[in-house]
């Protein structure tokens, strides 16, 4: 997992959890407080409803006392016996005028449920069938689809029902308490302050009318024949509060995500990208490219790390340069590959060079001048060697030793060594020309070349080693060099055998060398 991902999660997860907890707590509080309020409201509304309806019922009872009396009994008797409705109608009209107005509903039936008189808000409504005559104790009822408070007067010959429409009362209750009221009569809505509500939507608990949630409580009074009487509180403020809490939560989480994105972007540009650059650069350095430089600005720790990295690579680069100067790159590579001292036998061509008359030639010279001169010369000569595929193995004061075919095998190492020798002499001649031009004295060198088997490997102490060649053939090359006249390149028979097709030579008198009892055949290389 990337660092910036970790930071992102470290910000998003705890802050989101915090916001989520806050939202849950808020929702719980909203539920507790608002729902409780709604229930209180419903409970109070219900009490008010019962109180109001009971009061109205009492008024109705008080006003309608005469309807129980002898006159109505006799008038109903007459109406039922004779079929003449004049008297009962007169009685009703008279009584209604006394109480200040006719009720919205009245009905007179005989004992066989034949309707004799009727008044209803629904003029054409058919009277309810006999079996739907109401329980006399239950004053809250419905006629022709309207809610009524009704009183029944049972007389000997018939029954008179007088009903007061309570639609207005219900509407007032709705206004006063800001609740919805619905009255249902055996599945049929006879009143609903919510026109879209139907009993099928439910009458208890959460009820959805359209997209609005209501809290419904069925609460028919004891004297109600209607089932149910429902009180509903509009829960949309609660839902709004809930939505707000959720939006707040969503907003909080969004902000935390944004912050996290911002921070992780900062981290990314400020830390991750530079670190990745550094990692890439470090890989390059590991692969040996010391020229790599990272470009990380800023004065912060990362910027300083970048600078330090550059300093480090710079340091490494310098060290590598020194290594390349002191060791040849191939040898350095050999060391890098393996530091174990495991020698191997190899056929190589060894080149020795030595300046003739060095001691006498440098006599009286400033040592610094000598050093400069040597450096100039060695630079030229080692270039010639390297150009021909050889490796300067070591500088030996006024001479050097070079090898062809170690540590890596070189195709045609003998020929390449001979050519290097020739080139060295050529460069040295030009160098001498320049010295003459500057009024300086000349130096000449002899070069000896031999080809043969030698032990190649790292030699030295555990903590300080060098790569070298050891063997008689090496010594022979050195001895041959000693025999070479200034400007001369001498090669042995082994070398000659390998280059005779390419190089012109002049065979010289065999020479005797130190450590060998027999004379050695030598050839002078001629261009």
């Amino acid at each position: 997992m990337k660092f910036r991902t970790k930071i992102f999660l470290a910000i998003v997860l705890p802050s989101s959890a915090l916001v989520a907890v806050a939202v849950v707590v808020a929702l719980a509080r909203i539920t507790l407080e608002y729902e409780e309020q709604a229930r209180d409201q419903l409970s109070r509304s219900r009490e008010a409803f019962e109180g109001t309806i009971t009061e109205q019922l009492n008024q109705l009872v008080a006003l309608s006392k005469p309807f129980e009396g002898a006159r109505f009994e006799e008038a109903i008797r007459e109406a039922v016996d004779s079929g003449d409705l004049k008297t009962i109608q007169q009685q009703l009209d008279y009584q209604f005028q006394l109480v200040g107005g006719a009720p919205e509903f009245y009905e007179l039936r005989d004992k066989k449920d034949k309707v004799l008189l009727r008044k209803s808000p629904e003029r054409d409504a058919k009277p309810a069938p006999p079996q739907k005559w109401r329980d006399p104790e239950k004053a809250l009822t419905a006629f022709d689809g309207h809610p009524f408070l009704a009183i029944r007067y049972e007389h000997e010959k018939g029954t008179l029902v007088i009903g007061k429409l309570i639609t207005g009362t219900l509407s007032n209750l709705k206004k006063s308490f800001q609740i919805e009221i619905a009255l249902v009569d055996h599945g049929t809505t006879v009143f609903s302050s919510l026109p879209d509500w139907s009993p099928a939507m439910g009458a208890e608990g959460a009820v959805y009318v359209g997209r609005t949630r209501y809290l419904a409580v069925p609460a028919p009074p004891a004297f109600s024949e209607l089932t149910p009487v429902v009180f509903m509180a509009d829960m949309s403020p609660v839902d709004r509060a809930r939505l707000q809490a959720l939006l707040f939560g969503a907003g909080g989480i969004t902000v935390s995500i944004l912050v996290a994105v911002l921070v992780s972007m900062l981290i990314s540009t400020g830390i991750s990208t530079p670190v990745e650059t550094l990692v890439e650069a470090a890989h390059q350095v590991a692969a040996g490219d010391f020229k790599v430089k990272v470009e990380i600005g800023g004065q912060d720790e990362i910027g300083r790390l970048g600078s330090a990295f550059n300093e480090m690579t710079e340091g490494l680069r310098k060290r590598a340069e020194i290594m390349n100067k002191t060791l040849s790159p191939e040898v350095a590579e050999e060391f890098l590959k393996n530091t174990e001292r495991r020698p191997e036998r190899r056929t190589v061509t060894i080149v020795f060079m030595d300046i003739r008359g060095y001691t006498s030639g440098t006599e009286g010279m400033d040592p610094a001048e000598v050093m400069e001169m040597l450096n100039e010369l060695m630079d030229l000569l080692s270039k010639a060697i390297v150009r021909n595929g050889g490796i300067v193995n070591k500088f030996l004061g006024d001479g050097l030793m070079a090898m062809f075919g170690a540590p890596k095998p070189v195709e045609g190492h003998a020929l390449k060594a001979v050519r290097a020798g020739l080139e060295m002499q050529k460069w040295m001649a030009r160098w001498n020309d320049r010295r003459v031009a500057r009024g300086l004295n000349n130096f000449f060198s002899g070069i000896g070349i031999n080809t043969g088997q030698a032990m190649c490997g790292k030699v030295g102490a555990q903590d300080r080693m060098e790569y070298t060649l050891i063997g008689e053939e090496v010594n022979l090359a050195s001895r041959i060099c000693g025999k070479a006249a200034p400007k001369q390149v001498l090669i042995t028979k082994q070398t000659y055998d390998l280059v005779k097709d390419e190089i012109k030579v002049k065979e010289l008198e065999p020479v005797t060398v130190k450590g060998l009892s027999y004379p050695i055949k030598v050839y002078e290389v001629l261009e």
Binding site: E68, G69, A70, R71, E74, A75, R77, E78, D81, E156
Partner: protein, 227 residues
């Protein structure tokens, strides 16, 4: 039959007999219920005194009308009751209704034989009504639901209000065959065929109960117009 009766009456005016007997009215549950229903309750109970007896009325049905001298009868409103409770008068009689209570009454009737409304009037005042149609008139008081009274108007003399023990006698009845009707508050009217001989007839009547037909229950309702 009427012709025969008329002939009988014409031919032998001195020949007459008496129908006598006893109306027994054993009360059942329905009667007790009705009685309970009209039991006095409400304000002014301390002024209430026991209602008058409610005797049976017995008469002959479908006899020819006989011109009779009208009477003047008094029915008092007293002790929150109508007294006497049951009255029988000849056609054309006048009934006075004095109020002797310290409160208003409002006697009225919606009976077919006589519709009237006396209105309310204080103690000491009286109003009267003349009854020109035969039949039964149920008296009610608008103010006091439980108050009941009955007037029976006849266009012939063959009727009697029974005594408290139910005994009655209808005198001066020409011998012949008749239908006797017995009425009593809280009961169904009873009709009974009688044959009156020269020495009269003895007819005991038992009132019918109607507890098995509660939907037809009546509190002294008008039952019979053939008087």
């Amino acid at each position: 039959m009427r012709l025969t009766l008329a002939l009988l009456l014409l031919c032998s005016p001195q020949e007459s007999a008496t129908i006598s007997g006893k109306v027994s009215a054993p009360e059942g549950a329905a009667q007790k219920k009705l009685r309970a229903k009209i039991k006095y309750a409400g304000p002014g109970v301390e002024n209430h005194t026991a209602p008058d007896p409610s005797p049976a009325v017995v008469w002959l049905e479908k006899v020819p009308a006989v011109k009779m001298e009208p009477k003047t009868v008094e029915i008092r409103q007293e002790g929150l009751e109508i007294r006497p409770r049951v009255v029988a008068v000849p056609l054309g009689s006048t009934v006075k209704f004095p109020n002797q209570d310290d409160l208003f009454h409002n006697i009225f009737s919606y009976s077919k034989a006589k519709r009237f409304d006396l209105g309310r009037y204080p103690k000491g005042e009286s109003k009267s009504e003349t009854f020109d149609t035969k039949g039964q008139i149920d008296l009610r008081c608008e103010v006091h639901d439980f108050i009941r009274g009955y007037i029976h108007v006849f266009d012939h003399p063959y009727y009697a209000v029974a005594a408290e023990d139910g005994s009655y006698s209808i005198p001066k009845v020409p011998p012949g065959k008749y239908t006797l009707v017995a009425w009593k508050e809280f009961f169904e009217p009873v009709r009974q065929e009688v044959e009156v001989k020269a020495d009269g007839a003895k007819v005991d009547v038992t009132m019918a109960r109607f507890e098995d037909r509660p939907s037809d229950r009546k509190v002294g309702s008008a039952c019979c117009d053939a008087r």
